[in-house]
Amino acid sequence: MAKLGRLLPLCLLPLAACGDELAPAWQIRAFRLWGAKVENLSRAATDPDVSEAAPGERVRLTLSYVDPAENPRPLQVVWVFCAEARATATSFACDPRGASVLMGPQVEYTIPNISYGVDAMYRSRIQGVVLACAGGTVGFDATTMLPTCTGEGAESWVMTRSIIVRTAETDPPNHNPAIAEVVLLRNGRADDAVVLDEAGTVTVPRCTGEGCPTHLIEVRVRDGSRESYQTRDTAAQVITQTERLQFGFFTAEGTLDNAFRVDTADRPMGPIRNTWTPPQRAATATFYLTAQDIRGGFDVVRRAVTVQ
């Protein structure tokens, strides 16, 4: 049923029949990137966790990822920033003007003082391209202006990430959403809710032939994570909107109902919950939970459950 629901848009209109299931997004089987958190260092003292920056301000970017391999290979991370994205249909290349290249999973970058041609209310963007290179040598392709990863057995992953540039102080800056806590509602019961931690102190029975209880994982965000902001409607009138957060649920153990939950405008925001079915073997189920506001704000946490 769930599969049918996901494929409904495709199936309905042409009355097409749909095929078998593909690997779900929630399932961690190999190296995965979650995102990069942008923190405005120039304002941190007075206004922490701002995810935007004005020209001349300095930001810190922290890459989040997981490598489930038993013996992870050493990872090199290269960041390339350019003042304006020159995206085309077939390339992710940056314009070399004002490009910056930085190394490491956590880097600091100063927003260049240049002219940005976009309406301040919609922000401008600094486009970043991140290369994560495992077991290889990092290089640079002069044609595409992108970093490369070469070497026998080398493997790489590419992520794009933009930094929102404030060209005018028209409204309060955006902040990163913050996941305050993650709660497990055992057997789906609110009266059996326990807060998860990274160590996996919470235990649940594994799925057996006698029974396979399902649990709810609930993500709770810090108050104020859903911020109000100003934008323009299609008639160019200034309007105020509330952020709709997007949550990601990922694990290597058991089965999740779906990878994402999204606030929607037309429904009151209820608890952010996902159904999890434990595996049939004893294991430590590690969960990666993300929150994004799609305005540059990002957060990720790791929690674990011991399956006995």
């Binding site: 409904l8 848009p9 309905l12 085309t88 919609y122 299609t234």
Partner: protein, 884 residues
Amino acid sequence: MRTPRWLAALAPLVAWPGVALAQIAPTRPPEEAQTPAAQPETSPPRLTQFVEAEYPPEALAEGVEGSVLLELTLDAEGHVTQARVVQPLRDDFDRAALAAAQRFVFTPARRDGQNVPAVLRYRYRFSAEAARAAQRPAVRAVLRGVVRGSGDAPLAGATVTLRLGDQAPREAATDAQGRFRFDLDATGQGAVTVAAEGYAPYEATETLRDRDDVDVVYRPRAAAPAQPAQGQAPPEPTGDVAGEATVRARRPAREVTRQSLDFREILRMPGTGGDALRAVQNFPGVARSITGLLIVRGSTPQDTQIFADGTLIPIVYHFGGLSSVVSTELLDRIDFYPGNYSARYGRAQGGIVDVGLRSPRREGYRIVGNINLIDASLFVEGAITRNLSFAVSFRRSYVDAILGAVLSGIDAVTITSLPVYYDYQALLEWRPGRRDRFRLAFLGSDDSLALTFNRPSETAPRFSGNFSTGIGFHTAQLLWDHTFSADTTSRAVLSLGRNAINVGGGEAFGLDLAFWQYTARYELSHRLSRQAQLHVGLDIIGGPASITFNGIRPPTEGQTFNPAQAARVATTSTDALYRPGAYAELELTPAPGLRLIPSLRVDYARDADRSVAVQPRFSFRWEVARDWFIKGGVGVYSQPPQPQQSSGSPNVLQPGTTVGNPFLTMQRSVHYGLGLEHNFSRYVSASVEGFYKDLDAQIVAQNTIFGAGYLNAGAGRIYGAEILLRHRPSSRFFGWVAYTLSRSERRDSPALPYRIFQFDQTHILTVIGSFQLGRGWEIGARFRLVSGQPNTPVAGAVYNGDTGTYQQIPGAPLSQRNNPFHQLDVRIDKTWRWRRGSLNLYLEVLNVYNNSNPEGVQYNYNFTQSQVVTGIPIFPNLGLRVEY
């Protein structure tokens, strides 16, 4: 004065129609004429332009007729310089004859190679009967044929009754050769009955269009020898009762290729659900489309226009081609032109589908109900007064009820509004006299769907939430046909309506488009002579289009939809469209069997940077030998941009930019076509046609954030051949084999190499056959074998840290294809007839052998896995059609 003998022998040439030659070359010395050896090379004048004299009304009322002998003096150019009455009839006749004769034109008389003046006598005859005939309404169509009985012998004395739309029933008795004939001043669908002693009543339906000359053979079946005993059911009519109607001759279209369908073909065609417009998809030149789009000769769906009696309608099919938006019961004709069409059609560089609505019947009532698993419809027509008649049709789907029950247990989606479509047509026709026909029509259609996805998509989570789509049109149309004379007719069509499209896709996309469309079309046709007919027309479309849009600038054909990289656009604006056009077309028949049609069309589009497109066109059709025809054409076809492409409305997301490019001009295509047709027999014909289309100034989207939107930078070339082997409906069978071999290519800028067209299908084979088995049973099948659709492979994917999803990197555009499509559809009909109506039960099974036809490719969240999305599995549809 003597008249030379040779001159007397030539008199019939000069005298036609009614000239009495009296004298020529008065300057010639008499003695020369008396010396045969010295006789000069002389030729008499020949009448080349005859002018009909106005018959004096009083004389006509009194039935007076006769002739006036005139003497005409011609100059060396053949013009009449003087006319006088030599033998009067009556003053009014004399004046009329003189007035007409003074406008005659002759080829000059010649002597020794020089044009010379001449004097001749001309007898102008006034025939009251001919004058009355000329004042009658023009014969618009002819239905004639032969009724054959046992042993195929001509059946004399049979009564053939034709009920044609609003006309009173006409009767004709067959002569000794079994022949009958109807000269008709109206067209439409005609119900024919043949009654003959010793034969079962025979019924047939004939579709008669303007200028049709339809020759048929009817073969009623001998009546059952004995009546059934009391309590027993009467014997069922056999398939032969349907009889045999063979189209032998139809006046060719003004276009190189026009494909038309007989009513029985429409109703019984397998795989179409008895839907006339869906049947169009089986013609050569039409690519297969799962979404119901019309892809004609390698053109994008937007390049093909659909008309209902000259009024442009925005869609032709409900959701995915489930059924068409106009009831089959109301159709007089469906003309499909894949290319090289008449100058009366403009603003399209692909094909044309022109649907003609028929006249409601003018006596009695007729009701047709149709119900199947997808929708139900009701059609009613009848007479209000002798000159006023109506027809009403309504159809509604109930897919919503079925799907609602199926999907109610699925928690992934909340059905806000399940797919529903409806359409309606209402006609009111008034014939105040024999020369005029007025028709007021209301046409409408609406498709809507709304869903709420409770689980976000793994590839685009922000598309969760509400998804809705709706498209509809509601149009009022006024049509006026007027017959000025036997040679001059006109048609005027005015329409006003509202077309609306709205699409909502979560937060990411919203479109609300409303177009108040008015159209005005006027065509005047005048027969200049037996060899020439002129059509001139005006064709205007316009109106305000308001749009609210928030989303990604829509890509054009062949471009990969890349939401993360395409420019976002938001606007609320109103643009006014104004697109007038004018055309003139000349039909020439300089020799029997040869038709030459030069034409010119000029279009103006205010929304296309006020550009003007001059489009000369030419086509011909030549019967080179009996039943062998060569046909061909070449012409220019221009098409304005879509409103959103040329919109100069500001894009509020990027100050200083606009939604579209207001400097776009019209796209252009040059059509070339050459073909051969042969009628093997009354039933079987074949045609082969090659075509080439050269496209330039095609609109392409600049798929970048900083692009100007759209540019006239694209080009294309399309070439191929179409073969049609067709068996028209006989008493037992109809069917055809249609094969199209084509290649369609595009390039998005002059610097790029040509690539394959998004909907290119190299091979399209359609085989259709339907057999009448007798006793009301009919079975038909359709088999299709089509090349797979091109698709663009995925070269890789990049994780987008802004959205938390992967974004594909497309490979070479449209560089691979799905596997070929093949499918067999079967239809079984059982029909019961009784005196006042009929009942038809049918079962149509799509994809009988349940082939998993590939329709697309679906990827997992990071584009490392893929699977083929297949089309509909085996799908039976049971339906019932009742006619009373």
